[in-house]
């Protein structure tokens, strides 16, 4: 498995654009810059400082914020002496009755299960690297899972939904925001931070035991 062919030595100096398949010399850009494909302008790789540290920080923050987001109510409503607050669990359960039941699972996955799974997978794949150890067993699969789940992680979309819902009910009753709302809002910042810091290409190279 680890035999080194002469061709694989050479292939290491090349990179193909993921978006248009153009074959290029691999040039590592100066620190903080990104290299783009000259034909389609797709990002090839970036040279960000502390990729592992920053990605881990984002993953750990996500995990902590998710706990807060799930445990506390995110919105409360009061009208004519009746009070009601809704937690993320209530929002997930909103579709539980009738034929929309499968949507419960989907909503739970989009706003809680997938973001948490991604955070755990990233921590598992990158934490050993952070301490200078060899990647854990299955680190590659774990990182791949985290990347594949990325479009399906929708915590930040949920928070926009909360904002829209808020406007819809303000004429109905007095509404107040709970701690979970702020946890989710902070999650948006974490997502933005992760998107700006994570270079898949760099992490894959660090995960490769041969290249370290």
């Amino acid at each position: 498995m680890h035999t080194r062919h002469p061709i694989s030595e050479n292939l290491d100096r090349l990179i193909a654009c993921r978006a248009c398949d153009l074959l290029l010399d691999r040039v590592i850009p100066p620190p903080g810059k990104v290299a783009r494909c000259p034909r389609c302008h797709h990002v090839l790789l970036s040279n960000k400082r502390n990729v592992i540290d920053n990605t881990l920080a984002a993953a750990i923050s996500t995990a902590i914020l998710m706990v807060a987001a799930v445990l506390f109510p995110f919105i409360a409503l009061e009208e004519a002496g009746l009070q009601r607050d809704a937690s993320v669990m209530d929002a997930i359960g909103a579709f539980a009755s009738g034929w929309s039941a499968p949507l419960t699972i989907a909503v739970a996955a989009f706003i809680v299960v997938i973001p948490v799974t991604r955070a755990v997978a990233l921590i598992y794949a990158l934490l050993p690297l952070r301490f200078g150890k060899a990647p854990a067993n299955g680190a590659a699969n774990s990182f791949r899972l985290a990347m594949a789940l990325k479009p399906w992680s929708m915590a930040e979309i949920f928070i926009v939904g909360v904002a829209v819902a808020l406007v819809k009910v303000t004429d109905l009753a007095a509404v107040s925001l709970g701690p979970s709302f702020w946890a989710f809002s902070a999650l948006i910042l974490v997502v933005v931070f992760e998107n700006s810091t994570l270079c898949e290409w760099t992490i894959w190279r660090l995960l490769d035991p041969k290249k370290r």
Partner: protein
């Protein structure tokens, strides 16, 4: 070799190489698994155009009932009213919440319909050539992939309202059948965009060279 751009270009496939979709490692064409990350290797995503069309069609089909059936069932003092996607947005306009109404219209009408149109246009452009430059089409594809998930906002709004507004006789809100259809439509369209292989745009330039503007 036909020239695809202003400078002479060679793709990994033409060089007899395949790049791992997952980690970007190059391997000789025909290798089945990536030596670095063990992902299965494909020079182009297999059956991309069939998958794109299939998911797109499913997305469009689900989008129809999503607009016809009510999204929200609101009952106030025993009176039940049904709100469709468009109805809800109009209500918001009348109420004066312009900004939110625009968000709702964007998320549930403009973005989904634009996605259907863009994906279909990209696919037709690959087969028959397109008036748009490959570069412009690439931008459309990246935009579509980025924006698609945001349509889910409407489903979350329904979930939040249904969870929150349960004040018994005074007011209660429950999800309508359109919520499920709409969620399915968003998921199918996302899958359609994910099945699309942007390399097809650039490959098709050999068969349909860019039309020169005069």
């Amino acid at each position: 070799m036909a020239l695809a751009g202003p400078q002479e270009t060679i793709t990994a496939r033409e060089a007899g190489l395949v790049s791992c979709d997952n980690c970007g490692t190059l391997a000789p064409l025909g290798s089945r698994r990536c030596a670095r990350c063990r992902a299965s290797l494909h020079s182009r995503r297999p059956n991309a155009s069939q998958r794109v069309w299939a998911w797109l069609l499913a997305g469009i089909v689900c989008y129809i009932p999503a607009n016809l059936y009510p999204m929200l069932l609101t009952s106030t003092f025993g009176k039940v009213s049904e709100g469709t996607i468009i109805g809800g947005a109009i209500e918001l306009f009348e109420y004066g919440a312009w900004f939110v109404a625009v968000i709702v219209i964007l998320a549930s009408v403009v973005i989904p319909v634009a996605k259907f149109v863009v994906i279909a246009m990209l696919m037709l452009g690959i087969r028959h050539g397109s008036r748009l430059s490959a570069h412009r089409r690439m931008q459309l594809y990246e935009f579509t992939e980025f924006i698609g998930r945001w349509s889910m906002v409407d489903v979350f709004v329904v979930a939040i309202l249904s969870a929150l507004v349960q004040l018994g006789f005074i007011a209660s809100i429950n999800p309508g059948p359109a919520a499920v259809c709409f969620a399915l439509s968003v998921v199918f369209t996302m899958l359609s965009a994910q099945s699309f292989d942007p390399r097809m745009i650039w490959d098709s330039l050999e068969e349909h060279p860019p039309r020169v503007r005069r």
